[in-house]
Symmetry: C2
């Protein structure tokens, strides 16, 4: 069937950029940034390390491309929904990012922040700003404040999302074997053991931290920022 090749390429192309990116995302999801090794990647793809460099240039660029792939697709599936109020649309974009980072929690948050900082003209930054910025206009924020308002929203989203990404990089958080619940219990008991004279506030909130939901709290934060925006002069 495929005996005669239509492309003028030499046809022994057997490794594609997409395959490399997919495999990289798999590695990242399974063990965080530290797990993405050129050696591990070339083993998984059954090639030499040179083949990866031929297609992809660089470990850092590979990380950026993986981030771009994941974020872009998260924003695309979000945009397929019917449009609602500006507030609702902002919530959707925010939650799309929140969920994407939860899904790829071991590496995405750090890399997303890095990409927005270093590459403000790249598709990731541009797409996020454009999506949120339009709604800020629709919200009634005066045009002169659009940039400030949108930046505030994006900054809040990134900060919240980074915080809810459980331990990046390595697992060396005192105990490597501790699930989410144990980790929370350990924190609240540690907070309870603080000197109540010097840390009255921490004592006051231990109860609230114990049974709070990250996603709900994230939405509360969005609501707070949105409320603040409506009072912008």
């Amino acid at each position: 069937m495929a005996t005669r090749d239509r492309r003028p390429q030499r046809r022994n192309q057997v490794l594609s950029r997409e395959q490399i990116i997919d495999a990289a995302i798999g590695l990242l999801d399974s063990g965080g940034e530290g797990a993405l090794t050129v050696r591990a990647l070339s083993e998984r793809l059954a090639t030499g390390s040179g083949a990866i460099y031929y297609h992809v240039g660089n470990r850092d660029q590979l990380l950026d491309t993986a981030t771009e792939t994941v974020i872009t697709s998260a924003l695309e599936t979000e945009s397929s929904q019917a449009v609602a109020t500006p507030e609702e649309e902002i919530r959707r974009v925010a939650l799309a990012l929140f969920d994407a980072i939860a899904e790829h929690h071991q590496w995405l948050a750090t890399r997303l922040t890095l990409q927005i900082v270093r590459n403000p003209a790249g598709p990731v930054t541009v797409e996020i700003f454009e999506r949120i910025g339009r709604q800020v206009g629709a919200l009634g924020v005066p045009r002169a404040s659009w940039f400030d308002a949108t930046s505030t929203l994006v900054h809040y989203i990134l900060g919240a999302v980074s915080q809810n990404a459980r331990m990046d990089g390595d697992t060396s958080g005192i105990q490597p074997d501790m699930d989410r619940e144990e980790f929370f219990d350990a924190t609240s008991t540690a907070w309870q053991e603080l000197d109540p004279e010097n840390y009255p506030f921490m004592h006051a909130i231990v109860g609230q931290t114990k049974q709070h939901d990250d996603r709900d709290q994230f939405l509360t934060g969005i609501a707070i920022v949105l409320a603040g925006l409506t009072h912008l002069r």
Copy 2:
């Protein structure tokens, strides 16, 4: 003079934990996280690598300790001022963090976020939350919302501060030789070249980005979140 030693220690102690931490901060400031190498550190201190591990345990722990040292001292000098309104006090804590990260821009932002995520019972997290949380109470936020309100503030601060930390890690942001101004110009021209049909918002804000001040924008963001908090049910 110092012929008879008062300490029961063996007295050939010539390298201290503090020296190591100071040298580490120096290395980090000069070249970011990548510049903190056990080899570079031991060379600067004229010792072997083993000596560092004897005092400090680990590269990761050294990074954490450096972060703790810098953040703690930034918060201490801030607290020496006379108390003002709750809003003013929150602004001060926020700016103390903003300035600390600007001073150590190549590494601090990432490490601060990491520390708050992984070590919520550590001094850095506790101090920041306690400082801000108290003022949230004084602001009139209902007790049941203290945790949500404080988290929102902290998340915003961290997000904004991470964003304003210029390129972490390495300098590979397209061009290694580009100062702040060139970088900004390059972004705005890139934004101007975007398709106006699909990116009307980006076109609308190019003008504002060109002459905006990061610190001012940061304070505007704080004001927005504070305004939102006063409307918390």
